[in-house]
C-alpha cells in the first residue's frame, strides 16, 4: 500500500519534472462546464450543454483549438450558489480547466464569477444575464456572451415605444433582483423615448408564483394598453393560461420574455394574438446563413428538437472563446482576456460580435416580436421581429462607472 503510494508520487514528480511547455502543447484545452443541470435551471442548461457538445465535436473535427484537442469537463451546480462555487473551484484547482462556463442562474453565476476572479481563470456566461456581473461585481476574467438583463429590458422599451397607440403601460416583475431591475430599466428607457406614456406602478408576484389571477385582475384594473411582465417559467406560463379567462388578450397586450423553449411549452395554449416576446436567439429569426442552417440541422438530428435560445448562445459562446484563443495563440488567461476585446466574431447571431473590455459585455443582439401560430411549426413562433443590435442597448461606460461608484458606498 505504502509502496504504491510512493510509486504514484514518484510518477507524479517525474511528470512534473517533464512538465512545462512540452506537455502543455499536447494536453487538451479543457472547457469546464459548471452548469445548473438539476434544479430550477435544469431545462435551460440541458439545451445549452447539448449545443456545447456539438461545438466541442466540431472543434475537434477541425483539429481542436491551437492544434490541441478540446475536452469538456462537466459538473452539476444544482442551481445552488455555494455548490456552483464549489464545483468551479474543483474544476479550476483539480481539473486545471482553461475556461469556465455553463452557468444559468444569476445567483450561481455571481458565485462562480467570484471564484473565477479569485483564481484568475476566464469565465463566460451564456444564460445567466444579471448586469451586476458587469457592474458592481465585475471582475476582469469575466465576459457576458449575450445581452444582459438591462439590455433586454431596453429592447422591450424600444419596441413598445414604436407602438404609437399604446398610451398606458402596466408593469409586473418577479419579486427578486432580475424582476426589479428589468422593470426599472424598461420604465426608464420608455419614459425617455415616450414621455407621453403613463407607466403604472409595478406589481411584484413572488418568485415562482403560479396563482396569477389576483395579479391579472389588478393589472387589468388600470386599463392598460399593454402589460410589461418580467416573468419567466411557471409564473409566465400561468399568467398566459390564466389571463385568457379574464379576456386579457382581448383587453390588452402582453410584452414578456419569450424564448423558444417557452414558445414550445405553451404550444396550442398560446393566445392567437396580443403577446409580444423578447428573445435572445430564436433560431427562426436568425439570418439563415449556411452555418446557421447547418447548426439547426445538426442539432435536430442529434436531439430530435429545435435548438432553443440557450443552445444557440451556448454554441456561439464556445466558438467565440475558440476564436479568441486562436487570435491570442494561447489559452493563458491573460492572453484570452486581452484577445476577447480585440477580435470581432461572426457567429450564429450575426456578424461583428465583440466584447467591450470595460465591463466584459458582448454587443449581442436582442429580438422582440409577436407570438404567432404558423403552419410550419407545431409551436408558435415570433413574427414581425425586430432585431436590436447590442451597441444601442449597452449601458454607457460613464453610467457603469457611476453605478460602480454608487455601489461601493
Amino acid at each position: 500500500m505504502l509502496d504504491l503510494k510512493k510509486g504514484g508520487l514518484a510518477a507524479l514528480a517525474m511528470a512534473m519534472l517533464a512538465g512545462g511547455h512540452a506537455v502543455a502543447a499536447d494536453a487538451p484545452v479543457k472547457i469546464g462546464f459548471a452548469g445548473d443541470l438539476t434544479g430550477a435551471c435544469a431545462a435551460l442548461t440541458e439545451d445549452e450543454l447539448n449545443a456545447v457538445k456539438i461545438g466541442v465535436d466540431e472543434l475537434n473535427a477541425k483539429g481542436g483549438i491551437l492544434g490541441r484537442k478540446v475536452e469538456l469537463v462537466i459538473r452539476d451546480s444544482q442551481t445552488k450558489p455555494d455548490e456552483g462555487a464549489k464545483v468551479a473551484r474543483e474544476l479550476i484547482v483539480d481539473e486545471k480547466i482553461d475556461v469556465l462556463t455553463g452557468v444559468c442562474s444569476s445567483a450561481v453565476m455571481l458565485a462562480e464569477s467570484a471564484v473565477s476572479g479569485e483564481l484568475k481563470v476566464p469565465f463566460y456566461a451564456t444564460i445567466g444575464s444579471t448586469q451586476r456581473a458587469n457592474i458592481e461585481l465585475y471582475q476582469p476574467y469575466f465576459w457576458q456572451a449575450q445581452a444582459n438583463a438591462t439590455m433586454e429590458a431596453y429592447a422591450a422599451a424600444e419596441y413598445v415605444a414604436k407602438k404609437a397607440e399604446w398610451k398606458t403601460i402596466a408593469t409586473m416583475g418577479s419579486d427578486y433582483e432580475w424582476g426589479h431591475t428589468s422593470v426599472a430599466a424598461f420604465s426608464e428607457r420608455l419614459k425617455k423615448l415616450r414621455p407621453d406614456v403613463t407607466i403604472i406602478d409595478p406589481i411584484f408576484p413572488k418568485v415562482g408564483e403560479t396563482a396569477m389571477a389576483p395579479y391579472i385582475t389588478t393589472a387589468l384594473n388600470t386599463k392598460p394598453d399593454a402589460v410589461f411582465a418580467a416573468l419567466f417559467g411557471g409564473s409566465l406560463g400561468s399568467l398566459i393560461k390564466q389571463g385568457q379567462g379574464f379576456g386579457f388578450f382581448q383587453r390588452t397586450n402582453l410584452v414578456t420574455l419569450m424564448t423558444v423553449d417557452t414558445l414550445q411549452s405553451m404550444g396550442s395554449a398560446m393566445p392567437a394574438s396580443n403577446v409580444y416576446g423578447i428573445a435572445r436567439a430564436p433560431f427562426f429569426a436568425l439570418e439563415q446563413t449556411p452555418e446557421v442552417k447547418a447548426f439547426i440541422e445538426k442539432y435536430r438530428a442529434a436531439y430530435k428538437e429545435y435548438p432553443t435560445d440557450w443552445s444557440i448562445n451556448g454554441y456561439d459562446g464556445l466558438m467565440f472563446y475558440a476564436a479568441a484563443a486562436e487570435h491570442a495563440k494561447s489559452v493563458a488567461p491573460d492572453a484570452i482576456i486581452k484577445a476577447i476585446s480585440e477580435i470581432s466574431y461572426d457567429g450564429l447571431r450575426g456578424k461583428g460580435l465583440k466584447v467591450r473590455a470595460f465591463d466584459g459585455q458582448m454587443n449581442a443582439p436582442s429580438y422582440v416580436g409577436k407570438a404567432t401560430k404558423v403552419p410550419e411549426y407545431d409551436f408558435p413562433i415570433l413574427t414581425e421581429i425586430e432585431k436590436f443590435p447590442g451597441e444601442a442597448l449597452m449601458v454607457s461606460e460613464d453610467a457603469i462607472a457611476a453605478a460602480r461608484k454608487a455601489a461601493k458606498k
Binding site: 389576483p214 411557471g234 400561468s238 390564466q242 385568457q244 379567462g245 379574464f246 423553449d261
Partner: protein, 290 residues
C-alpha cells in the same frame, strides 16, 4: 374589482384545499407528514397530460375522465409507497419520516424528469372551459369556477364518506384512538393503507384538475407542498375543516392583499400563520379528521 378578487381568492383557496386535504387526512390517521404529497400531485398532472392525449383532447369528458383515471393511478402509486416504505416507519421519530418521504420526493422527481424531460409541458384546457362569464366589465373565468364546483363536490363526498359510511367510522376510530380501535379488532394496517390510497387519490385529483391552469414540470412537487403546509398549519394538521378554512383564508387574503397592499400580500399570509401558531389554536395540536 373587489368582487372579482374575492372570487379569485375563493378559486385559489379551493385548489389549495384539494392539495391540503389529502395531506391532512393522511396525517390525521397515520401521523405521517408526507412530504411526497406534492410528488403525487405532480404525478396526477403528468398522467392527466398523457391520458388527455389518448382519450379526447379538448373535450370536457376527456378532461374529467383523464383526471379521474389519472388520480386512480396515483392512488395505486400511493399504495405502493405505503406498503413498501411508509408502513415501516409508523411510530418512528419525525426525522426518519422526513428522510423517507423526502427520498420519495427525489425518486419521483428524477423518474418524472427521465420520462417527461426537464421542460414544462402544457395540458390543454377543455375548449368549453376556455372562456369567461362576462358581466358588464367583469370577467369571471370559467375554468376555475368549474374547478371550484368540482372541489365542492369532493368536499361533500368526503363529508359523506367520513360521517355516513362504515369506512368513515373506521377512519374516525383510527384517528381518535388507534390503540382502542386495534383492541376492538379493527385491522389498523388496512385503515392506514386505505387512507393513504384516499389521500393519494385526492392529490392526483388536485394535480389533474389544476394542470391546464399552470405550468407542469418536474419541480411542481416542492412548489405545491409548501403552500399545502401553510394551509395545514393554519387549519391544524389532521383537521379537514381546518384545512378548508385555512385554504380559503390563504386564497382570499392573498387576492385581497395584492389589491390593497401589493408589497405585503405574502407577508400577510405568514402573519396569519404566525398568529395561529402563537394563539395555540388547532395549528399546533393537530386535530382529528372530524
Amino acid at each position: 374589482m373587489v368582487l372579482i378578487q374575492f372570487v379569485n381568492g375563493l378559486m385559489e383557496g379551493m385548489t389549495l384545499f384539494l392539495i391540503a386535504s389529502g395531506l391532512t387526512l393522511i396525517f390525521g390517521v397515520s401521523r405521517i407528514i408526507n412530504f411526497a404529497h406534492g410528488s403525487l400531485y405532480m404525478l396526477g398532472a403528468f398522467l392527466t397530460y398523457e391520458l388527455v392525449q389518448i382519450l379526447a383532447p379538448g373535450t370536457l369528458w376527456g378532461f374529467f375522465a383523464s383526471v379521474i383515471v389519472g388520480a386512480a393511478i396515483v392512488s395505486l402509486i400511493g399504495v405502493l409507497f405505503e406498503v413498501t416504505a411508509l408502513r415501516r416507519i409508523y411510530g418512528a421519530d419525525g426525522l426518519m419520516q422526513l428522510i423517507v418521504t423526502i427520498a420519495l420526493v427525489l425518486i419521483v422527481r428524477d423518474v418524472v424528469r427521465m420520462i417527461w424531460g426537464p421542460n414544462s409541458i402544457t395540458v390543454p384546457m377543455p375548449d368549453a372551459l376556455a372562456g369567461a362569464i362576462v358581466i358588464g366589465e367583469n370577467y369571471f373565468p370559467l375554468f376555475p369556477i368549474v374547478v371550484f364546483a368540482a372541489g365542492l363536490v369532493i368536499v361533500l363526498a368526503m363529508i359523506w364518506v367520513i360521517y355516513f359510511t362504515r369506512a368513515g367510522i373506521l377512519l374516525r376510530a383510527g384517528t381518535d384512538d388507534r390503540g382502542m380501535a386495534a383492541l376492538l379488532g379493527i385491522n389498523e394496517r388496512m385503515i392506514f393503507t386505505a387512507v393513504f390510497a384516499a389521500g393519494a387519490f385526492l392529490a392526483g385529483l388536485a394535480g389533474g384538475l389544476s394542470a391546464p391552469y399552470g405550468e407542469v414540470n418536474h419541480l411542481l412537487d416542492t412548489t405545491v407542498i409548501v403552500s399545502a403546509f401553510i394551509v395545514c398549519v393554519i387549519g391544524g394538521l389532521g383537521n379537514l375543516y381546518g384545512a378548508l378554512a385555512g385554504a380559503l383564508v390563504v386564497g382570499i387574503t392573498k387576492a385581497m392583499g395584492v389589491m390593497y397592499f401589493p408589497r405585503l400580500s405574502m407577508v400577510l399570509i405568514f402573519l396569519i400563520m404566525a398568529a395561529v401558531l402563537i394563539g395555540r389554536s388547532l395549528g399546533r395540536q393537530g386535530g382529528s379528521a372530524r
